[in-house]
Subunit: 237 residues, 2 copies
DNA sequence: GAGTCGCCTTGATCGAGATCAAGGTTTTGC
DNA sequence: GCAAAACCTTGATCTCGATCAAGGCGACTC
């Protein structure tokens, strides 16, 4: 049984159904006929944590899980340049100059479709092109926020900003004043590679935020905050 | 006399003529009728160094000069998140969440046109949407390169990478093995704000690169390199 | 020409975060 | 259930780049 058949036969949320319901990813823009065509062409993948995702021009909706994007220097130093949290849209509409490495941080479920179909639809449908553009602009905006953090924030401001980002992605609608707890989908090494720090500094700063009372470390991977607002104060911006 | 009349009467290179000839900026995508319409709606501006450019939704081709984009933290720490060198295209197709500050580093000549015109043309013309998207993807790619630099490079690698970027923008077609010299359109403060360093470190690292023989500092604002390839080796990537 | 201002360089010292080191905890595999 | 491996924390020390301080240089004013 192929992945494609799987989508058609089972009642699993394929791109069209799940995304249309949620009005996110790409799917808000399509009409019923297009959604049906996409459903046929799409395939659902389950990918275990640690897998590298090919940069092959396919487009995907990230149904669940977290993906990291990385750049490496020649001697192996690594910088994480972005994350994708469900229900983000993945994929680079044109071949960019440098390939980007993408890797699943957690188990990941993807609904992906061939480049040619999206490209054709983008030509028919200015709406879709706009959506892709808007999406890319948001990514650019985020990248620039992190540039400011990497260049100008202290270690503890970086940690606070990172925790706030994860909290926001865990529950975008969360009330700023009420407590929240969430899983960190990353190792200390990944956090360090994102914030331009070492794992020891990450560990120390987390301990400091805990003894401050700013955060509670339920276990190594689970954090709880008294409020978003409180951590926001420590971000420096 | 308004700027608009100025464009029509004088033979100054407005977007359409100059850009079509150069095949850059936005203008490669337009036909003759559209170019004529753009010419009518466009206005040419000369802006002195230090002016802040409004983030008002207009689109512009940067005809000459250099522009910096910045993010500020609440206490005034500044990070430069990008540059535009002529003949880049400026403008953000949709309102993004955070406004971005743009400032002319040198005297700048702009050819700008109202948002509504471009937006309408983008709807008629999938080509144009693609161009905007491609353009934004390139900016994203660059932002991510600088994230890697800010997070993981040493001060001297950052300086080398910066000099290489300026050299490439000064003469994109330059042969990698032959010598090149160029003006730095920035103060030491701006360089520091871009690289996440202090002005003293920038100054010291430039001095070190000079005593290495990697660069020659003709005067404070003019640098010459034996070759692009040589400086490339010192960038760490 | 003297004085002021903006910008840059260089030296001395400091400190945030890196590195080195050791041990603890959690997960995995048999 | 035990051993090994992976991951995390904490302490001691070091270092790169920041900070503090002084002076140089060029442009502009009077």
């Amino acid at each position: 049984m192929t992945a494609r058949q799987d989508v058609q036969q089972a009642d699993v949320p394929a791109i069209c159904k799940s995304c249309e319901a949620r009005q996110d990813g790409l799917c808000g823009a399509f009409n019923a006929r297009q959604l049906a065509e996409l459903a046929k062409a799409s395939s659902r993948h389950e990918v275990p944590a640690g897998t590298e995702l090919p940069d092959d021009g396919t487009y995907s909706n990230l149904l669940s899980g977290v993906v990291k994007l990385t750049r490496n220097l020649s001697d192996g130093r690594q910088q994480i340049v972005g994350f994708h949290f469900a229900p983000d849209f993945l994929g680079r509409p044109f071949e960019a100059k440098k390939p980007i490495r993408a890797e699943a941080l957690t188990n990941v479920a993807l609904c992906s479709f061939p480049k040619v179909i999206i490209d054709r639809m983008a030509n028919e449908m200015p709406e879709l092109g706009r959506l892709l553009l808007k999406h890319t602009l948001n990514e650019l905006d985020e990248a620039r926020d992190w540039m400011a953090a990497l260049g100008r924030k202290t270690a503890s401001e970086k940690l606070a900003s990172f925790l706030l980002m994860v909290a926001r992605n865990t529950d975008p609608a969360h009330h700023p004043a009420s407590p929240i707890s969430f899983d960190l989908p990353l190792t200390r090494t990944d956090i360090a590679d994102f914030l331009g720090l070492t794992i020891e500094t990450v560990s120390r700063e987390l301990s400091r935020l805990r003894s401050d009372g700013t955060i509670r470390i339920v276990n190594k991977r689970q954090i709880s905050l008294a409020s978003m607002a409180q951590i926001e104060e420590r971000c420096g911006d």
